[in-house]
Symmetry: D2
Subunit: 348 residues, 4 copies
C-alpha cells in the first residue's frame, strides 16, 4: 500500500527488456547512435510535427534546461505557486537560467487562469530595465493537484502568454496521465494549444530515468545541446535512455501505463469519497488523490503500513491536514481495496 | 515641481564640497586610504557597535552583494511583494546570489507582518533537499509605500525570522528618512531590533552615489570583499565615496536632509488630504506620498510641468490610478504649495 | 574494432543483472532506499574510511558538483591543460561553481608536477581581493593520456596543494583502470596520499551510468545534497544507480573489468610499438593507447571499420597526427589482433 | 613619488568642475537626462560611427558586462595570460558571463600574436557540445606591460579572431594613453582595425569613476541595459558620470592628460635606462615603466617614500624582481627627477 509517489516503484517490464536489448554492441556515445535517432523521430511522429527532441535523466534537468533557453538570465517566469519548479527543485530553474526570477501565481486546484496570469503581469508594468521582463509562462499538465487543463483552457492560457510576449513551457512530468485521461492527441494537448516547449516525462510512469525535452519550433532549441552538456546531463551511454523511450512509446505503452494508474486513482477516489468523514480535496482527474481524513486516521493508516505524505504547500486550504495519495502504473485493485477497507475501519 | 524620485536631484552642497576636498594628493586606491578607514569607523560609532562596513555606488549593488553572503545560491529570500529587490532590480539578487529564490509576500502598505512571514514559511515545509531552504528575510525601512516599521514591529519580525533560522536583511535606501521620522537611535532601528545586515543608503538623500553595507556581526561579512571586487563594485578611487559619507554623517547632515524631505512630504500629504477628490493611499510617514486623483487630474498636472509617476505594483489596490509623489532634500515649500494650488485648480 | 571510447560499449552482465533485480517492489525514492544505504557503506569499507558518498549519473556532474562545494564561486581551480574538466565539459565546472576560474597548467603525458603547480601559483601572488584566490588542485587518475600518477607523485602534489591552502580533487573517471594497474589499495591511491574528494567513475568501465562523489572528510561535503538536487542530478529512482555500484564493487568486479581493458591496451600498445612506422606517444599504463601512424594509415584503417579519433589538445606534441585508441572491458584479444594485422598490412 | 598606480591620484580639475556644474536642477535619473544623451553622441562623433554607448563606474564592470553580451555562458574567451580580466578582477568575467571560460594565452610584453591565438584555438578543435566554443578574443590596449599594439598588429589579430568566428573585445583602461602615443584616430585604433566592443577607460586618466562601453555595431549591444541594471551598475544619478566624460572628451582633454602621463613615463624610463644596474624590462610606450633594480635598491627606494609595487604575473621573466612604476596625469617632472636621483644614489 505505497501511495507515496509514482517514483517509488521500478520500471515497466517492457522498458526493462528494452534496456537489456540495448546493451549489445559498440555504438557512438552521447546520443550519436541509431536508436537515439530513431526514437527522436518517433516523438516527431507522435506529436505530428518535426520537433527538436533532447533526452535527459530527470524532470528537474528537463525543466531547468528548457527554461534556460526560453528565458534570459534576467527574465521572469510565471508559474503556479504550487508548481514543481517553484516548490520541489531546490531553485533549479534559477540555477539553470543563471538567475531568472520565478513569479508564483495562485490558482485553485493547481491550475492557473488567464485572469490570474494577466493580473500578475499587470503588477509588473514594463519599465525597462528596472523590472525583470516576463519571459515564460510555465504550466504543469497534469497538475500537482491531480487536475487537468482542458484543451480550451490551455489554448486560452497560451494566448494570454503569447499576447504578452511570453513563451509557454509545459512541465509534463505527468503528461502521460493527462493524455490518457483526456483522450485527445498529444499535438492537441501541446503545440496545437500553443505550448512552445514540452518536458515529456517518463520516469514517473514506468521508465527508469527518462525525460524528453521537446521544442515544437526547432529553432527555439538554440544552444540546448551546449547547456545540457555543461550541466552534466548528456549521458555518454545515451542509448539506455533512448531504449526506455523506445519501449515506452511503442504500442502506446505510455498511455496504457498511465491509464492504469489513473483508473486506480479513480477507484481510490470514488471509494474514499463514499466514506463518511473523508473529504476529497480536488477532483481526481489523473493518478493523484488528495483527501482529508478525520483526525488521527492518517496516522493509524500509516501504522498499518500505508505509505503516503501530507500535502503542505502555499495556498493549501487544509492547514496541513490534506494527504496526497498517488497511484502508479503498478498499483493494483487489491492494494486500493485493502487501503479503503482500512480507512473504513478507522473512520466511524 | 519634480516629484518623480529622490534621485532626480543632485547632491547636497556639503557632500559636493567634501568630494572636492578629497581630490588632493596621492592615496592608496581601492579603499586603502585613511579617509575610508575613518569613515568606516564613524559608522561603527553611529551604530554603537563594531561593524564591518563596505561602500558601493548603488543600492542594487548593496542589496545584491549583501544577500549573496547571507544566502546560499539555493536559498530562499522572503521579501515584500512590492519590495525594490523584487520589483526594481531586474533580478539583481538572483544574479548576485547565483540563483537564490525570492519569495514575494503580500502586506498592507508595503509592510510585512510576522503572521504573513510565518504563513509563507508554513507553505514551504522543510523537505531537504527538495525545497529551497529559507535563508533570509528582507525588510525595507522606510518602505516602498512611504511607511515605517516601528521598533517593536521590527523586533517581532526579526524574532520570527531568527526563530526560523533566517538572517534579516534591511534595505535601507530610505533608512535616513525613517530615522529622521522615528527619532530613535540607528542602533535601535537596526541591530538592537535584530537586523543582521543593513544597506544604508546615501544616494537618494543628498549623496552623489554612496551606499554602505553594514554587517553588525563582522564575521557574517565572510567573503564580501571578494564578491564586491568580482562584481566590479570596488571603486579604485574609493576616497570619493568615503568623502560623501564623511560629509553625510558629519553633524547629522543625513538626518537633517531626510527630515527636510519628510517635512515637505508631510506638508504635501496634508495639503492633498484636505482637497475633496484626492485620496491619500498610505499614511505618509517619510518622504513619499501616494495619492489617487480624480479622473484626468494627473494628466492635467503633468501638462503643467509636474513630474511624477503612477504607482503600479502587485497588490496595488487602486488599479493603476495611484500616483507616487516623492520629496527630496531639495524640495521646497514653494514647490509643494504650487503643486497643491494646481491640484485644487484642477479638482472641483 | 571500436577503439573510440570506453563509453561506446554497454554495461557488464553483472551490472545489468543487478539493475534487473533492483526493479522489484516499492521503495523510498531519491536515495532513501536500503540498497543505496548499503552501497554507500560499501564504499566506506573499500576506502577504509567513513566517507560521505553521493551518486550521480555522469562524470561531468560528479566533477562539477564536487568542485562547487570545494571552491567558492570566485576561486581558482588548477588543472592540467588537457584535463577533462578543462577540455571536455563545455565549461561545466564554471557553471556548477557559479563562475570559478580554471587555470590550465601544462605537463608531459597528461601529468602535473609539484614544480609546475608551484610555478603556476607563483604567477598569482595573493593580492586579495584582486586575484581569484586559488582554491582547488584537480588531478586526473588515470590521466587523459593513459598515464598514472604513482602514489609518491600523488603525495607530493597533494602536499604542494595543501601547503598552499588548496583542496585536492581527483577526477577518477578511470580510477578503476589506475587501481587495477597500480595494485595498491584505493585508500593509498586517494586520501592516504592527500586527496580530499574523489569522483569515482563507473560509467566508462562496465556501468550503465554511475558515478560516485566521495568526500573523505564528511564535513567537507557541506551542501552537496542541495546542489545535486537543484542541478537536477538527484535521480528519483536512485536504486538503479545503487544497483550498478552494488554489482560493480562486489567481488572486485570493478578491478577485474578494468584489468581486462588494461591488458588489451597493453597488448595493443606492445603490438603497435613493434611495428616500424608506428610511434607510441605516451607510456601505456591503463586502457588508452596514443600512437602516431605513418601518413595515410589512420584513414585506411578507418575505411576497414576501425573506429578511433585523432587526439588534439593544447600542448599536443604531434600536430594533430596523434590517434587515441581506447580499450574497454569488452575489447577482445581478437579485436586487437585484427587491428594490429591491419596496421601491419597498411604500414610498410 | 607615488608610482603605485594611475588610480592613486584624484580627478583632473576640468572633470571636477564639470561634476560641480552637473549638480544643478532636477533631471531624469538612470541616464535619461540630456547631458547623458549628449555625451553619448559625442562618443559617436569621436569614433566616427554611430555607436551604442553605456556608462559604468569601474573598469571591471565595463569588461564583465561587455563580455557577458559577447559570449554565451558556455563560451571561451581568449586573453593574454597577464591581462587584467584574467589576473585582477577576481573572476569578474566568469561572474558576469555566468560561467564563461577564460583561456590564458602567453605573449611577450603583454601582447598576443595571431600565431599564438591560432595555436591556442588549434588546441581546442570544434567538438560540439564537448569543448567550450571559443567566442571572444580580448585584447588590452595599451597593455598591462606598458606596450602598444600597432594598428596593423590589431588588424591582424582581429582578422584571426573574426576568421575563427570570434568577436573582439578591447580592454581600453589605458586606451587614452595608447591613443596619445600612437597619434592615429580613435576609429583607426578600434573598429577600423576590427574591434567589436571597446571598454573606454576614464578612471585611470583623470576621471573620478567613469568608463564607457562602446559597441561599434549597435545591434551587438543586445540586452546590455538589462545586464547593467541587474548587476547594480546603472547609476541613478548618471549625470555625474556623463559630466566626467563631458569634460574628459572636451577639447581633447583625455589625450592631453594621457600624453602628459606618457611623457613622464618616457622621461622616467630614459632616466632609468641610463643608470648602470637598472634594466628596463619592456619598451616604455605608454605611462608604465617596468624595471629591475640591483638587489636591495627597490627596498631602499621605498624607505625614502617612493611608492611602487613588484610586478609578478604568469610568464614573468624576472622571478619577482621586476618593479612596476606608473605615471599618472599628475606626475611631475620634479617627482621623476627626484626618483631618478634616489635610484642613482642607491645604485653604484
Amino acid at each position: 500500500m505505497n501511495f507515496a509517489s509514482d517514483n517509488c516503484v521500478g520500471a515497466a517490464p517492457e522498458v526493462m527488456d528494452a534496456i537489456a536489448r540495448a546493451n549489445d554492441g559498440a555504438v557512438p556515445s552521447y546520443g550519436g547512435d541509431d536508436l537515439s535517432r530513431r526514437v527522436e523521430a518517433h516523438f516527431s511522429e507522435i506529436f505530428e510535427r518535426d520537433c527538436a527532441v533532447y533526452f535527459v535523466a530527470t524532470g528537474g534537468a528537463a525543466n531547468g534546461l528548457a527554461l534556460s533557453v526560453m528565458s534570459p538570465p534576467f527574465g521572469m517566469i510565471l508559474c503556479h505557486e504550487q508548481s514543481h519548479i517553484q516548490m520541489d527543485e531546490c531553485g533549479g530553474p534559477e540555477f539553470f537560467t543563471g538567475g531568472a526570477k520565478l513569479l508564483p501565481v495562485a490558482g485553485v486546484g493547481g491550475k492557473l487562469t488567464p485572469e490570474a496570469v494577466e493580473a500578475a503581469l499587470a503588477g509588473f508594468p514594463e519599465r525597462p530595465p528596472h523590472g525583470a521582463p516576463a519571459s515564460v509562462l510555465s504550466l504543469t499538465q497534469g497538475t500537482e493537484c491531480g487536475t487537468i487543463y482542458s484543451a480550451s483552457e490551455l489554448t486560452a492560457l497560451c494566448k494570454t502568454a503569447h499576447d504578452a510576449g511570453l513563451l509557454v513551457h509545459m512541465d509534463g512530468a505527468r503528461f502521460a496521465n493527462a493524455a490518457a485521461a483526456m483522450g485527445i492527441s498529444p499535438a492537441e494537448m501541446s503545440w496545437k494549444a500553443g505550448v512552445d516547449v514540452l518536458c515529456f516525462g517518463g520516469s514517473k510512469n514506468g521508465c527508469m530515468a527518462a525525460e524528453a525535452v521537446i521544442f515544437f519550433n526547432k529553432e527555439q532549441a538554440r544552444d540546448f545541446e551546449f547547456r545540457r552538456k555543461r550541466a552534466g546531463h548528456l549521458l555518454s551511454k545515451m542509448r539506455f535512455i533512448s531504449a526506455q523511450f523506445d519501449a515506452y512509446l511503442d504500442a502506446d505503452l505510455w498511455l496504457k501505463l498511465a491509464g492504469g494508474a489513473n483508473a486506480m486513482a479513480a477507484k481510490l477516489s470514488k471509494g474514499l469519497g463514499g466514506i463518511n468523514g473523508v473529504e476529497i480535496s480536488y477532483p481526481t482527474q489523473i493518478n493523484e488523490v488528495f483527501a482529508v481524513f478525520s483526525d488521527g486516521v492518517a496516522d493509524k493508516l500509516r501504522t498499518q503500513g500505508a505509505v503516503f505524505y501530507p500535502w503542505v504547500t502555499p495556498g493549501d486550504p487544509a492547514d496541513g491536514k490534506m494527504q496526497r495519495l498517488i497511484c502508479s502504473f503498478k498499483t493494483t485493485a487489491e492494494e486500493v481495496d485493502g487501503f479503503l477497507q482500512l480507512v473504513r475501519d478507522f473512520t466511524r
